[in-house]
Symmetry: D2
Subunit: 138 residues, 4 copies
């Protein structure tokens, strides 16, 4: 069985959506994960503020990567199931900081809550991400 | 007051997140909107399937752009408030097609439901997007 | 193995939450379910309108009962996993009508969307309910 | 203008849905609220566990009552807009304890996150409730 190290993951992350949006994964762990992205045009919507999909995607990345790394030792894979992101305060520049906390570790699903804040520490978006746990195919 | 035409919007869309992820807006309207994106690495997560954030972002783009175009004539702006996307079937290649239907048109918020399907017409993700309506600043 | 008929279910439903709130199940099916409740004080919040929890509960009842009846023949049980209800229009009297449509039938989860309308047919609330499918214990 | 005290609210709460489900409001505040309910048949679904709608309703009650009490001094009213509850662990008996924390206080909406736990302190459900703030009618 091939298992991912955080480094493998980082390399593949850089050339997929995470890279396209400039996401930086700061910390991956079983109970806590952190990431950030700079506010460039790649994460803005046409009216100049950060696109809601950028917050949702960052939350998804942290929850999904953390769960994947954790469960692969048991021969399981993590599959994103649901992402609910609320947008609280528009951000136009600077850096968006994300912190994901695991709230539930079940046999068949993990649930994460993710706070996204601006450089002043103000809460800009909130996300709840549910990740399904499945036996690895094959 | 500056108002957006769909063409203005398309130009700014192309150089922001929509462009970074290869989103194509097919139709914008008050009650229905459609878009699509090709499955390239720009919308994949590191394990090769379409990133949950890509579905969420496409749904957000359609709901937000359609509402914005519709309400600006009244001097209002549209502000994304909530996006809840469920992931039903992984997609690894081809094109993802999105169709957004407006389900509610209130004075202070509009609600859209978005179906995302693969090339075979199978439902891959579902999104509910709530857009707040606010008086334009200034 | 004990299996439920819709009649068994109806009897137990009447003496649990469904009964406490006056819920009436009109139709249970694998792809469509319908129910309704009269607007009495039992479903109101203290300010006189229908309590958000009543819409959420009715949606949950329809999705959960329909899935349970459908999957028990395979030795599986249905377990509510997530309920997201948006409140669109306050209702103060009359009857609330609910129609649930199954949008996804996966091996490990079913997803339902539920429209809740008033006597004039106006959409009052929308719900998405995810039901997990698990092997029956024992 | 008539304003509610927590006592007025408690009296009306007792004869509406909160009373029908046996909800007890323990604390109402601008940033924190707490409540609980005993697990009787009134909050169970037909299979004997706590009905998902009971968790959603309790979260809605706490967020809605707390916001209402807080904003009425400014001539505003609180209107429930969205409730997303995830069910993590079934409860069959004892008491369910709910704690709501305000995460966002905007001019037009407040957002609360609610943890629901069993007698052993285990997390059984999580809810995010969005409450819209509107000028009082009349």
């Amino acid at each position: 069985m091939v298992t991912d190290t955080p480094d493998d993951l980082g390399e593949r992350s850089a050339r997929t959506l995470d890279g396209a949006l400039g996401f930086e994964i700061v910390e991956i762990g079983e109970e806590l994960a952190r990431g950030r992205f700079e506010v460039t045009d790649a994460v803005r919507q046409p009216w100049g503020v950060v696109h809601g999909g950028a917050y949702a995607a960052m939350a998804e990345t942290l929850a999904s990567a953390s769960t994947s790394i954790a469960v692969q030792a048991d021969g399981d894979v993590a599959v994103g199931q649901s992402n609910h992101t609320s947008f609280l305060r528009p951000v136009v520049e600077g850096t968006v900081h994300a912190q994901a906390r695991r709230r539930h570790r079940g046999r068949t699903s993990w649930v994460w809550e993710v706070d996204l804040t601006d450089d002043a520490g103000r809460l800009c978006a909130l996300s709840r991400v549910t990740i399904a746990i499945r036996p690895a195919p094959g």
